[in-house]
């Protein structure tokens, strides 16, 4: 069951990598990177479920934070504004 979940999420990662490599516009690539970051959070959740250790969820929370900040920064950059407007 856990192996099936890992295989499912790995397949999701490959689909995201396909979109990151083939996306016609920069916004497509940023969407793929955002989804890939959220799937890493899923991996951390499953590892925490297996090992019953709680610091993997710290990693998941900080990874979600970094993914969010990165997406916001790149979308501000695409919009053509500076960071302080």
């Amino acid at each position: 069951m856990i192996t099936f979940l890992f295989t499912l999420l790995l397949f999701c990662c490959f689909l995201c990598l396909y979109r990151i490599s083939r996306g016609p516009s920069p916004a497509d690539r940023v969407v793929g990177i955002d989804i890939l970051g959220i799937i890493v959070v899923n991996f951390c959740a499953i590892v925490s479920f297996i090992t019953k250790l709680d610091f993997y969820l710290n990693i998941a929370l900080s990874w979600a934070l970094l993914s969010f900040i990165g997406t916001i920064a790149v979308s501000k950059f695409l919009e053509g504004k500076g960071f302080d407007e």
Binding site: N42, A60, S75
Partner: protein
């Protein structure tokens, strides 16, 4: 019993992630891709973390709950900022799209 329930939630979450990523690959446009992938992957991640929340002891449950709240706030916010940025940087909609409220606002 709790183990089986949490495995069911995690299976539902994994399937929602898969559907979101298939939408990310198959749909024709940035905006369609954003809609499908962000909504499905946010719900799938929340289901997955809900399974972890049901199974674990208190420290794991508390951190999973915090992560659920955080993902529910930040996922749609990032999608909204990204779609606004892509329509302002001049990416066209799909040619079979029916309605474009931004163009109607500009006229």
């Amino acid at each position: 019993m709790r183990e089986i329930l949490s495995l069911c939630f995690m299976l539902i979450g994994g399937l929602f992630n898969l559907f979101g990523c298939i939408g990310l690959v198959r749909l024709p446009d940035v905006y369609n891709r954003l809609q499908a992938s962000t909504k499905c992957v946010t719900l799938g991640t929340c289901c997955m973390l809900l399974g972890v929340l049901i199974s674990g002891p208190v420290n794991i449950s508390l951190k999973a709950f915090l992560t659920i709240i955080f993902i529910l706030i930040t996922g749609p916010t990032a999608a909204h900022a990204l779609s606004r940025a892509s329509i302002k940087s001049g990416i066209k909609l799909w040619e079979k799209s029916v309605v474009n409220k931004m163009e109607e606002e500009k006229k």
